[in-house]
Symmetry: C2
Amino acid sequence: MKMSRLLGLRFKETPADCRIQSHIFMTRGGYIKNVGNGIFSLFTPARRVARKIENIIREEMDRAGGQEVLLPVAMPAALWKESGRFDGVKSELVRFKDRGGNDMVLGMTHEEAVVHLARNTARSYADYPFMVYQIQTKFRDEPRARGGLIRAREFTMKDAYSFHTSQEDLEEYYRRCHGAYERIFSRVGIPEVISVRSDPGMMGGEIAHEFMLLADVGEDTVVLCGECDFRSNMETAECVVENEGGAATAALERAETPGVKSIADVCSFFSITAAQTCKAVLYRKGESGEPVIVFIRGDLEVNETKVRNFLKEDVRPDTESAPGGGIAPGFVGPVGLRAKAAVLYDRSLLGGRGMVCGANETGYHYAGFAPERDLPGAPVFRDFAKTREGALCPVCGKRSITVRNGIEVGNIFQLGTKYTASMNMQYVDANGAPQYPVMGCYGIGVGRLAASVCEVRRDGYGPIWPMSIAPWQVHICAIHADAAEVSERASKLYADLLEAGVEVLLDDRAVSAGVMFSDADLLGVPVRVTVSPKTCARGVIEVSARDKSFSNDVASTDAVKYLKDLVRSMLIRLAV
Amino acid sequence: MKMSRLLGLRFKETPADCRIQSHIFMTRGGYIKNVGNGIFSLFTPARRVARKIENIIREEMDRAGGQEVLLPVAMPAALWKESGRFDGVKSELVRFKDRGGNDMVLGMTHEEAVVHLARNTARSYADYPFMVYQIQTKFRDEPRARGGLIRAREFTMKDAYSFHTSQEDLEEYYRRCHGAYERIFSRVGIPEVISVRSDPGMMGGEIAHEFMLLADVGEDTVVLCGECDFRSNMETAECVVENEGGAATAALERAETPGVKSIADVCSFFSITAAQTCKAVLYRKGESGEPVIVFIRGDLEVNETKVRNFLKEDVRPDTESAPGGGIAPGFVGPVGLRAKAAVLYDRSLLGGRGMVCGANETGYHYAGFAPERDLPGAPVFRDFAKTREGALCPVCGKRSITVRNGIEVGNIFQLGTKYTASMNMQYVDANGAPQYPVMGCYGIGVGRLAASVCEVRRDGYGPIWPMSIAPWQVHICAIHADAAEVSERASKLYADLLEAGVEVLLDDRAVSAGVMFSDADLLGVPVRVTVSPKTCARGVIEVSARDKSFSNDVASTDAVKYLKDLVRSMLIRLAV
């Protein structure tokens, strides 16, 4: 490819709507163009990166025994009604009517479509297990599209689905796909991706993993132990904290606390730490609107996913009213509570002593609260808290939890029979009895993966693409291409490299060396070749790495072989 | 791939909703599954065929200087409002509202999106010419989806767009793309595809070509001259017919013709041929509803495209009323017509004598009609007729026109500045003046191309895929795979061929030879290998061609090399 024909502008200014570095570089480097909210066109450099990622994914899915299929983007809503998700999924799912007035949806995930494909087809236990995958456009009407390709509304995704006759077989295959994912992330140049247990959410099923690339700009929160192998995403991470407690013998004592509403107010008024307070966090159930009160140590946050999973119902923060029966929210407490509400106690209250909590009367708190002693009935303490930096590891028990931001670059789910049962996909087992197969599903967003690599493989000037997914392998800068010798040598090298099967970009434009080099930095091709009047005079070319790890003069006569070998050796480094 | 894991059923019965052979075989062979009206999922064999076609297209587009991009499937309607097509295109265009209430469309073609990508980017004449292409899912809400992948509502398409600073440059590039298309059709195994001039329709522009594969099931009509190179699609084909006429001196004479309404009635009543009648064909203009009457020789049909192009307005057959002022339609004639209507005269009336036409009074006709003598005013005769078998060739003049059915497997258009001007894409020319670039566009439907090849490369048992696009290259049938020797030899050959880079499918199922062979016929892999107790006893494998052109025994020890060479030689035959 010649730069003079390459569509796309490269420029210096940071675009106003770009917050993260990958979005900035992909915009400034002529990779993507915003078409609408969360909708992008890809220029050639991005399309080439994406296609290489797609091919790596395809190879690894094939190696894991997968067969590639293609499911529709636009589907009859009838399929989603069968699974119950037509009503279950909210406005992320685009719905429209076709010219015949039929309800249609745009696929944001394809469990329904793949069950439709496989049912009435894999009818005997002997047909199992099998895995199908596709690489395809999806549309998810995200309320908060952002970060360029990191979270777009329209995106290219590899989604795979496996079908099994037993949970054991699924688990074995799940491990195999876990391995395939590790190979994929290594091959695209980010072997540091970790997998963490996650919450299956709307996908259903019990066990799920997310593959996380640790990065400050990540929207997901990853919980890691610094001492052992424990890792989890925040939603599922168990929170273990200790209570130092106050005086063991303090009695529950009502105190007048006018205007003392927040935890900070309480701490200041009683001269205690937040860990010595018990706060009430108010929710309402999604369907019924019934109030829910979670009592939790004042220094911790409620993990709403845990509340949802326990109640098996959606909850939303209660912003309407105080469920404590007219009491100002800051004074709601677990002792003497008369509100009609589902009351949940977080495990962080276990062992607490001498705590302060609301007294269910505006302007009053209790001091000397010891939950196990003072709570009515036989309260059950469960884990509803978000863990945090410095908490105890639930596996090794050390005070070694760290919390990091991560980008979710892949996920895998054990779905059980949620879709096969609801959509009546059956096979006949060895005894002739009908059974529902169990399913696994496995996703990777192609564009998000490209942007994620950009986020962690870059310097101040642009991406540093790993050779395996770089838009081109070699970038020739012909400085002073108006000099006949430069133009001839660069053109010949370009033609010879193409002939040798090297993917090469030739900057043949009549622009300054400065513009050429800053454009080359933005395009991030791993190997750069400079041809200039000076190098021509010395009979060499200048070969340098985008990551600045080397810079050599190479005799022009050896150039093709040298570059071909260099590219190959850089590719081999990324092989697994 | 092993057949025991290949998803998809193969069966013998012709599905009720399949009318054409490619649709039947692709359904019976486990290639496609209908998800909704004109919406299909692709099983692995179809996905593999499609991917090979995509790769051939990609190589040829790259060779023609193209750069691959990716434009969105779902687009803000604002783009289509800019070009005027949001209102101009009817219900083929799917419209929906996103969660923010914004008007969106699903891309059925991407002129708007590509101009959005290129404008403000290619700002200098030095940036031209360039061509971008994509291979992507499109949705067109066809009123009559049919023929499986031949005319689906959702389909994968390669669409390319070129931009130029002059019409001459566009034409030069257009010829280059024409050549690229010929290479593509040759490489996928159907070199007999012909290109014909066509009508640009809603795409705009002046010059367009369709690439037609002649096939009885084709929905398009192709006009060919048996004596010279003239070819056209029906919509644009000039119609040239001669008039033998009746007696030169016959006078116009009013005749009572009660109940003589149709051309057949007239012929029978007056004992003349249809070519001696003049009929009125009634239309209404699409917007205003104003009546249009086309007078044409009674044996010819009106080519509505020519009427539309002449009026520069849509027309629809008039089924509401007789625009002849209350006269029954069969009696409308060009003499003494008092209706307020646009009146058009077809060229077939030129030289007509002694004709019969309606007399504009129910129950009466004129005989002895000579259009040039009897028509009021100074009538202009234009070409509004569909040509037909045996008409005169507009190029060589011989009575050698033949009419055939064809499948449109590709099209190319010269768009002019329709989109660049309406969407204000400009560049600065060498004199510093702003200009609109001229555009070309170039489409190929991937699934339709696969189905078209199937339509013309098959026998009574299934497709005979050309090696270049076959789902696999070699298909091993292990007959009696329960015999240890068969199973071992077949498995070893399978592994060795995979190792040698051959794409191989192994039928390892415990089914009869009959089932294996009929399934192999449906999968259409060009080379079949049979391993059976008999071949094992003789130390050979049986190698045969799907097209029955050869069948050989090959020593097992030579099998891998033999097959690898065979595949290569069959590929070379398709290279161009």
